[in-house]
Symmetry: C2
Subunit: 208 residues, 2 copies
Amino acid sequence: MKLTEMTLTQFSETLASKAPAPGGGSVAALNAAVGAALIHMVCALTVGKEKYAEYEDFVRSTMTAAEKLTSCSLNTVDSDTDAYNEVTKVFSMPKNTDEEKAARSAAMQKALKACTATPLCVMTCALKALNLISDSVDKLNKNAVSDIGVAVLNLKTAVQSAWLNVLINLGGIKDADFVSESRSNGEAILAEALPLADKIYETILREL
Amino acid sequence: MKLTEMTLTQFSETLASKAPAPGGGSVAALNAAVGAALIHMVCALTVGKEKYAEYEDFVRSTMTAAEKLTSCSLNTVDSDTDAYNEVTKVFSMPKNTDEEKAARSAAMQKALKACTATPLCVMTCALKALNLISDSVDKLNKNAVSDIGVAVLNLKTAVQSAWLNVLINLGGIKDADFVSESRSNGEAILAEALPLADKIYETILREL
C-alpha cells in the first residue's frame, strides 16, 4: 500500500512500527509537502480579495508553483521508502562466494546512491518553496501570516531532515566523487535555505 | 470527515484549499505526532537487541510514553481544526442589536480561548517528547540516529509552529490575565524546548 494512500492514523502507526522505512526520509518529504500545501492555502485565501487585487496574477502563479511542489514532495514520501526497501533487499542477497560478495556490494552501492537522491530532491523542493514564500510574503493575506510562518518552519525542517538522511547514506558510499558532489549540493542548499527560512520566520514573529 | 481519517493525499489537498482550517495549527499537531512516532520506531528498533539489553526496560517505558504522545498529538490535529471552526461559526452570528453584538463578542472570546488551548497542548506534548529523547538518546539503536534527528527537528517545529498559533489567537483576546498567563506558559516551554532541541540536533549532526 502506498504511504500517501494511508490515513494520517495509519501512516503514524506504520512510521512508529519497527520497520526502518518509512522513517525520517519519508517524514522529511511529508514536511516539504505540508509546507508547500500551506503556501497554496494562503494564496487561495488571497486571490479574489480586493485588498490584494494588484498582486492577483503573481499570487496565482505562486499558487500553481506551490501545487507542483506539494505533489512532487508527496510522491517522495513513497519514493524515499521504496529506495530504502531496496537496501533491505540487498541484506538478503547471498554472500558465500567472491562473486556473490561482489554482486552484493555493487547492489548495496547502487541502492545507497538512490537513497541519497530522494532526500536531495526533498531539499531542492523545500528550497524552491522557501523562495516562493520569500518572493510573495508581502503580497499574501495578512490574516494568514501564522500559516505562512508554519510553512516556513516545516520547509526548514524538511531541508534539515533530508540532509540528515543524505549524510547517513553517504556514510556507506565508496564512490568518493559521488560523495563529494552530493555533499556540495546539499551544503549549497543548506547555506541558502536556512538563513532564508530564519529571516522570514523572524519577520513573521515580529508581526504577531 | 476527521482529518486523521484522511489519506496523506487528501489531507494535503484539504490543507491546500482556501478553507482556513485545517491550517498551521493542525500542521503543528501533525509535526508533534510524527516526531513522537519516530521516537517509538527507534525504540522498537532497539528493544530485543543484545547490544542494548541493559537499557531494555528503560527503552520499553520510553516507547510507551512515545505512543501516548503520538496519540494525543494526532487527536489535536482534529481538535485544533474543530476549535477554529467554532470561530468561523461566530462570524455568521447576527450583530444587529446590542444584545446580539454582546453575545457575538462573548462567543468569539470563548472560541479564541479554545483556539489558544490546542496549540499550547501541542507545545506541552512536543516538549515532553523532546525530554523523552534527551533522556534516552544514548540508549537507542545508533543505526537509526538520523531518525532521532528528524524526530527532534519535527518536535522543535511543532513547538514553534504551535507558538505562532498561540500568538495569533491571543491577539484577539481581551482578557488580559488569560493573555498574560498563556504567554508565560508558552514562553516557558519555548525557553526549555528550543535549546534542548538544538543541543540534541547538533550532537546528532556531529555523529553523522
